[in-house]
Amino acid sequence: MQTDSGVHVSSYGFSFLIFAVLLVLTGVTVGVAYVDLGWINTPLALLIAGVKAGVVLAYFMHLKWSTNLTVLVAIIGLLWFIILVAFTVADYMSRVPVQGWLG
């Protein structure tokens, strides 16, 4: 529903539904961690965490009902994070191993 001042307000039922979805996904991520899927385990855990984060962002943090400008700022945050991690990892992983790097 919307208030007179144009704010989107989620109902109790909807908020509890989002809560339940997040709990189920937490259970799923614990469950699949104990199944040997080889290299897929880690990407799958990150995918589930990403879906949970997306649910929180969209519904608890109201991005679904926010203006495009606010959504853009959120996306920029994600984009800079990807640049930070991807470029640093690419740097480290493309170096020649140095003896004793872990001390």
Binding site: V9, S15, T26, L37, F60, L69, T70, V73, W80
Partner: protein, 214 residues
């Protein structure tokens, strides 16, 4: 003067612009918070890739059940926070107080459990630098994992403590009946902050507790 006009600061055109500006400022703050935690997640990623065996061994020192239950507690606190924001949007100051108090309670439970986990790590000699006496197979990478564990969960916990502190302020505002359907940016932005801290944990939980459990 119209009732809504009293809620509007003179440098804004209307109530929508005022609310939009408050929310946008908070989102910009959260974007730089992403970069703050991003450095930790990035460093974690590199050392995990360099020494997976050690990270896997170290992760098995953490209790998945406690971690999962604490995740549920934190998600529950996000629910009560969302309901506090809802009450704020409707100008229901009593509702804000009740749900913010519940959020503080769940936050305190999370931090208490974290404290139990930390003391457990001490008893098992898993405190890097200070008290690392645990037998390891994979070498010093295990100790390095616990550096990440304590810095990342510690920074997360610090954010929660700050959040609980801000909640005291919001409780005071609610007691003064400051929240109206036109003006409730404080509780709304507190909600954004709390949900962001929840998201950080959503990633920390699998990355720290669930490495190579099969």
């Amino acid at each position: 003067m119209h009732a809504a006009d009293a809620q509007l600061d003179h440098h804004f055109d209307d109530i929508h612009q005022q609310r939009e500006a408050a929310g946008l400022g908070m989102w910009l703050f959260l974007a730089q918070e992403v970069m703050f935690f991003g450095g930790l997640f990035g460093a974690y990623t590199i050392y995990r890739l360099l020494d997976y065996a050690a990270f896997q061994e170290a992760s098995h020192h953490l209790d998945v059940t406690i971690g999962a239950v604490n995740t549920a507690v934190l998600i529950g606190s996000s629910l009560t926070m969302a309901l506090a924001v809802r009450a704020g949007q409707l100008g229901n100051n009593r509702g804000v107080s009740i749900f913010v108090l519940l959020t503080m309670l769940l936050g305190a439970v999370f931090l208490g459990v974290k404290g139990i986990e930390y003391s457990d790590k001490w008893h098992h000699g898993l405190i890097p630098g200070l008290h690392f006496t645990a037998e390891t197979v994979a070498g010093r990478g295990v100790e390095l994992f616990f550096v990440f564990y304590f810095v990342m969960t510690g920074m997360h916990a610090l954010h929660m403590v700050i959040g609980v502190g801000l909640m005291l302020w919001v409780l005071r505002m609610a007691a003064q009946k400051r929240f109206t359907p036109e003006r409730h940016a404080w509780v709304e932005n507190l909600g954004l902050y709390w949900h962001f801290v929840d998201i950080v944990w959503i990633f920390l939980f699998p990355l720290l507790y669930l490495i190579g459990r099969h």
